[in-house]
């Protein structure tokens, strides 16, 4: 029963973060909201593991926590530098920075 309460609280938090992601004026607000949703999803998976009794899906929560971090850092690099990776023709990339 308490797992259901914790799960609904986490779902409400994800809803609030989703609203901030839609409203967020700057792109960094959106990245912040997505990062928060990712962390809450990790907790949701953990609570759901106990809710359904199948605790072997905690590994999924573990992987999700890592990938969420890597995704946030990758998006930040994309937003800041304008490109994520240059496809080899770096001289063309340097020619027109933006």
């Amino acid at each position: 029963m308490m797992y259901a309460a914790a799960a609904t609280a986490i779902l409400v938090t994800i809803g609030l973060a989703l609203a901030r992601a839609l409203l967020g004026p700057t792109v960094y607000d959106r990245i912040l909201a997505v990062n928060m949703i990712g962390t809450k999803t990790v907790l949701l998976i953990a609570v759901f593991a106990f809710l359904s009794g199948r605790t072997d899906i905690l590994d999924i929560a573990l992987v999700y926590a890592l990938i969420n971090f890597i995704a946030v850092v990758a998006v930040l690099k994309l937003v800041e530098l304008g490109y994520l990776f240059t496809s080899g023709d770096t001289e063309e990339q340097e020619a027109k920075p933006e």
Partner: protein
């Protein structure tokens, strides 16, 4: 019985903290204060919820996985927030200094 009560208190407190962080994200005026609100939910809410679950599973592989998840969240969340603030400041978002 005590364990049941304690993990119930932890889980509900973690859920409430998450909601408070979610509300905080909406009420704070500018991006950098919102970063603080999101930071609260990342660390303390995760700690409470995962420890509440850990109490339920006792000393087993499951609670070891929970401790591992919490360790990863504890390491990656501040780093992500730092990278985010750094990118925002570099990207030209000015913190709102005086109200």
């Amino acid at each position: 019985m005590i364990l049941e009560m304690l993990s119930w208190v932890f889980l509900v407190a973690g859920g409430l903290l998450g909601i408070i962080g979610g509300i905080g994200i909406h009420r704070f005026p500018d991006f950098f204060s919102r970063l603080h609100a999101a930071g609260i939910t990342d660390t303390l809410c995760a700690a409470l919820i995962l420890s509440g679950l850990g109490l339920q599973s006792g000393f087993s592989l499951v609670s070891f996985k929970l401790v591992l998840i919490f360790a990863f969240i504890l390491f990656t969340s501040p780093t992500a927030s730092h990278a985010l603030a750094n990118a925002a400041l570099h990207g030209g978002v000015k913190p709102q200094l005086d109200d």
